[in-house]
Symmetry: C2
Subunit: 358 residues, 2 copies
Amino acid sequence: VERLTRDASQARVTPVILSGGTGTRLWPLSRRDRPKQMLPLLEGRTMLQRTADRAADSGLFAAPLVVTAAAHADEVAAQLGEGARLIVEPAGRSTAPAIALAALALDPRDLMLVMPSDHLILQPERFAAAVAHGLDAAQAGMLVTFGVRPTRPETGYGYIRRGEAFADGVFRAAHFVEKPDAATAASYVESGTHEWNAGIFLFAARAYLDALAVHAPDILAAAQAAMAAPGGSPARTLPEPESFAAVRAESIDRAVLEHADNVVVVPVDMGWSDVGSWAALHAVSSADAAGNSVTGAATLLNTHGCLIRSEGPHIVAVGVENLVIVATRDSVLVVPLAQSQTVADAVRRLSEDRPELL
Amino acid sequence: VERLTRDASQARVTPVILSGGTGTRLWPLSRRDRPKQMLPLLEGRTMLQRTADRAADSGLFAAPLVVTAAAHADEVAAQLGEGARLIVEPAGRSTAPAIALAALALDPRDLMLVMPSDHLILQPERFAAAVAHGLDAAQAGMLVTFGVRPTRPETGYGYIRRGEAFADGVFRAAHFVEKPDAATAASYVESGTHEWNAGIFLFAARAYLDALAVHAPDILAAAQAAMAAPGGSPARTLPEPESFAAVRAESIDRAVLEHADNVVVVPVDMGWSDVGSWAALHAVSSADAAGNSVTGAATLLNTHGCLIRSEGPHIVAVGVENLVIVATRDSVLVVPLAQSQTVADAVRRLSEDRPELL
């Protein structure tokens, strides 16, 4: 594995993009073989490309390192072009092991900017400023997280309670909880002191590995075994499958962040969305005067507040409101925007009845 | 042209099926090249086949005579099989000229049972009884219509006011109005004395031609010119195009029935529907416990009162009510059942933007 070497005093950051997800919440657009991050959900570049674009300033960032699944490796390489390096996970084991693979592929002194590949940041300049704010803390060995003001009692995210100031624009993470229950999440939103963990992290490779050694030594050991003599090439690293397959699936939140005492948070208002539902996509999409966000062939009459998206068939909507209507070559979805999170239930049903459609 | 000849005292009736329509109200299922009558709207046989089935008793009925357009002739022949004879209209000119072509192809003494090809009769045995009731009147030279109890102030139909009794189950048509305005239609529905003209007629060929000679001699003359030396074969008659193209387009209602004094009506409750909208189709379709009528591949969750129909794509509907969702290979329609008559507006728009979809 090629390791970046440089003067430790000169902060150069490797973007580590996690592209292992196989989300089903944007079905029928997202599929097993074409997950959300591969799609141009907003016009133009795909979510993966937008993620790489956010860390493309060569004065600060090295070439990106992408942790992905074998099924998606070629598409990742095609979308990011030359320069991007890949680590191909032998199996999906959530974020803690994935980030460990990346940390072990880098020089221990390297800073890593870990980013999910399928989130949206509408104001990337604010994100860049927040990263700049966190650099000193990361170089000092802290685990830097980025906090987004919660707008609803979401139970699927991690929450961070902001503690005392650590540096300019950087605070100690006083408390960290992933996926609280609904009542707890509601109390967090009301408190005004909790923020969503945006799933973006900045730290030195060594700091993360050290934290793993303390809080999840089994994950560290399995990752080290998998990366001791990996296969592949410098452009595409293949960790040893058996060692990695044995590791438990665990998020970085649960494995490290909830336990470590060197976690800080940089609050940032950057138009962040995990685009975790059709409603979330509608919220960040541009809409016409009637509130309709339309992509692809469609004819609308007396239709308001809808998300209409076609990959081929011509959609005609007449007299409907606040609906999601998505058509692909083989599937059509119709669901109220307010219920778009229930698409997961439909996908579960399809996985039994029509698995070829997933 | 082959003419049926027989003893005039023995009533044998030729079913005359009008299959010239190119309805757009069931778009995207119905298309220019595959109109409503060609479709199996209910399970099994197509609307055209069901129409022929209604007059298949060989003790009473001769082989059917179908008046259709050149674009649909092959499909009509394929659907009805051997025995059916076709008259291929050089151009669509509404019902009065079409029926004139059929009357001229028959022996003047033949009785004709004129039927639209795209209506539904859920209780065909009641229809057969009504036809039997009308036979004597038709043989006596009357123009027999069939009246259906109106259930709404429809402005697209003809209304017949029932007059004095003419025979058992047969009444004089005291007044006849096609397509009244909304207020008039409402007064007709309230009156209890008006019935819908089901568009089905029983009369001797000579009686219709005589009525045309009095009330629409131009239509009779044009039809006679077109049928003086037609082309084609006994199985497929081709009226002379130039003569026929010159005739005015007029319904039998306006050309004859509103003026003639020898019109009678046979009231009949037979589960009649012209299936003129998706809502009308939903009303006559069988539905599951949640009120959904589903044809083709679909997965429904928490969905009620919907008409779901696919010709290929898998439709997933979650949390919706009283919607029409129709998917074909190239188009998707979503409209509330209660607004399904507005599909015509959408089709009008498509005829400008995407005429290839019609």
